[in-house]
Amino acid sequence: MTTRRLTRTVWAAVLTVLYLFLLAPILVVLVESFDHSTYLRFPPEAFSLESYRQVFANEAFREGFKVSGITAAVTALLAMATGVPAALALTRLRFRGRSAIEAAFLSPLLVPHIVLGLALLLILAPIPLTDTYWGLILAHLGVSVPYVVRTVSAALASADPRAEEAARTLGASGPMTFWRITLPAIRPGLFSGGVIAFLLSFDETVISLFVSGQNTVPLPVAVLQYVEYRSDPSVASLSVLLVLLSVAVVVLVERGLGLRRTLRS
């Protein structure tokens, strides 16, 4: 019995240490974000919201936020517009070469971003589309489409095809069936596909490094450049703000969807 308790204690201690290791940088970032000194020190000398103020005062961060927001929104829209029909074809239609095309749609997930970034630089530089919104959007589109196809395909696969058949037998035409039965069934999948595409683009660092320049600098690149030469805590504050923002967006949209669902029934 005692060896059992000992095993359990050791096990709990090991897990605690591993969780501490895993969460260490987040905790440090959180604590640092309330520091106001001009260089990194731990623990901070005094707690203040000074570095949060600095985030909003930082022109590069403000501009980067705008660039990333616009790029991510357009990328998500384009990825949905091209990825959803593809997912529909891959899950609902039988045709020759289906599995090969499916593999092609997922293959960008296997290519490292450092290589894709270089590839996009090589092709966008001569046009020239580097350091522009459209360059960033095209660069992000390729890595976003596979996630949309995968998420929406999964949603379509779990939606009951028999329900679509039932709608057909009840007199609904093909487009009517899609609109009234399929679309509502995959709405959560569509939503998460769009959000994933948006967040991927918003967070994309390596590919953006290759195709952005001085004029169109997305937020992750601005942060990377800032961290490389300065070590004050405003990056920590910015990270905390971004996490709060993404959590808020997810919660708000979830609420919105839930609300609509309750209203309907």
Partner: protein
């Protein structure tokens, strides 16, 4: 259906066939079926026999490779699913998870542009018919399996379909609910009088619910008839074996009389059986249902069929025996009600007997046809 006056069929399938590309053999190979107006037909067969494909072809969900589908004489073969006017209840029910009960039922009427007031009235009627009026506002996920089944029925019936099609309607319910729903479906079918075809692999379901049964095997209809025809007078060994339990004994016709046939069965002697027509000398098969065979203690010297009990399995209401006839004769399944007979253990010497109408001729496999 022997007692109904002859009328033109309401639903008629003519040489309906389906071959899937890239697969050997046809899923359905030429099915001819006629269902009279207001009747309920069960299509009975093992899984993979093509019964579901046949049902889906009637519904318009699968395009037939050959053959025609008619309702009231009108050819529907090329009419698309959504204009075919078939009420379909799917095995999984296929209810719309994002709509509540009433809106599920209303869907077909909405597609037909039914005016609001009439739509509401007919949805209420349909829900009353399946006794779910009180659950109209429920979400599908909040319903039990039996309730979902009823919603699926109401949704299919509310549009007053030409034909109601049920795909394995009871297979997703537990045993107790199943027998209750069996009665429910029969009641609803009687009340609405809708021509109904249902597909099942369960012979009990087919025999107890339907007016007519079509037994299907390997893409073909083996036999069509009333439940009694199918059980008592199977025309083929497959039907005898699939519907109920049967001892099938191969032999040779030794004599043909007015209404019985004498068949010589190796190891068993000559047995008189009803059925035919056959000619003397032909190979044939005799069916003996296990519960039609009686067992008594062996009386030495009697001319009856004698045997040895190999095993006895107690099964509550009945005891299932396996009995070897003679020393090296065939082994017969025998089923006797518990308590109504003296029980025998393995090794017991017994005498087997049966009523004269118990043995039936079934055509030898691939034989007479």
């Amino acid at each position: 259906m022997a007692d109904t006056p002859v009328s033109e069929g309401h639903l008629v399938l003519e040489a309906l066939a389906k071959t899937y590309p890239g697969k050997d053999g046809a899923a359905v190979r030429g099915v001819d079926l006629t269902v009279e107006r207001g009747r309920m037909l069960a299509v009975l067969g093992p899984s993979g026999c093509g019964k579901s494909t046949t049902l889906r072809m009637i519904a318009g969900l699968v395009e037939p490779t050959a053959g025609r589908i008619r309702v009231d004489g009108r050819d529907l073969t090329d009419v698309p699913v959504h204009r075919r006017d078939m009420g379909v209840v799917f095995q999984s029910y296929a209810l719309f998870p994002h709509l509540d009960v009433a809106r599920n039922v209303a869907f077909g009427l909405e597609m037909r542009g039914t005016p609001k007031a009439e739509l509401r009235r007919r949805v209420d009627e349909a829900l009353d018919l399946v006794r779910l009026g009180h659950l109209a506002g429920r979400r599908i996920a909040q319903l039990s399996g039996g309730q979902q089944q009823r919603v699926a029925l109401a949704r299919a019936l509310v549009v007053k379909p030409a034909v109601l099609l049920l795909d394995e309607p009871l297979s997703n319910l537990d045993a107790q609910l199943r027998s209750a729903m069996r009665d429910e479906i029969v009641r609803i079918q009687r009340e609405t009088g809708v021509t109904t075809v249902f597909v099942t692999h369960d012979q009990q379901e087919a025999l107890s619910m339907a007016d007519g049964v079509a037994v299907m095997n390997q893409g073909r209809i083996e036999q069509t008839g009333t439940p009694e025809d199918i059980y008592e007078r199977p025309e083929r060994p497959f039907v005898a074996r699939f519907v109920g339990r049967a001892n099938l004994l191969d032999g040779t016709v030794s004599g043909v009389e007015a209404d019985t046939v004498a068949v010589a069965l190796p190891g068993l002697g000559t047995v008189r059986a009803a059925g035919g027509p056959v000619t003397a000398g032909a190979a044939t098969t005799v069916m003996l249902r296990p519960h039609r065979i009686a067992l008594t203690g062996a009386a030495p010297g009697s001319g009856a069929v004698r045997g040895t009990v190999l095993s006895a399995g107690y099964a509550g209401e009945t005891v299932a025996y396996r009995v070897r006839v003679g020393d090296a004769g065939p082994v017969l399944d025998v089923e006797r009600p518990t308590g109504a007979h003296a029980s025998y253990g393995p090794g017991a010497e017994v005498e087997l007997s049966w009523d004269p109408d118990a043995p039936r001729l079934v055509a030898a496999e691939e034989g007479t046809e």
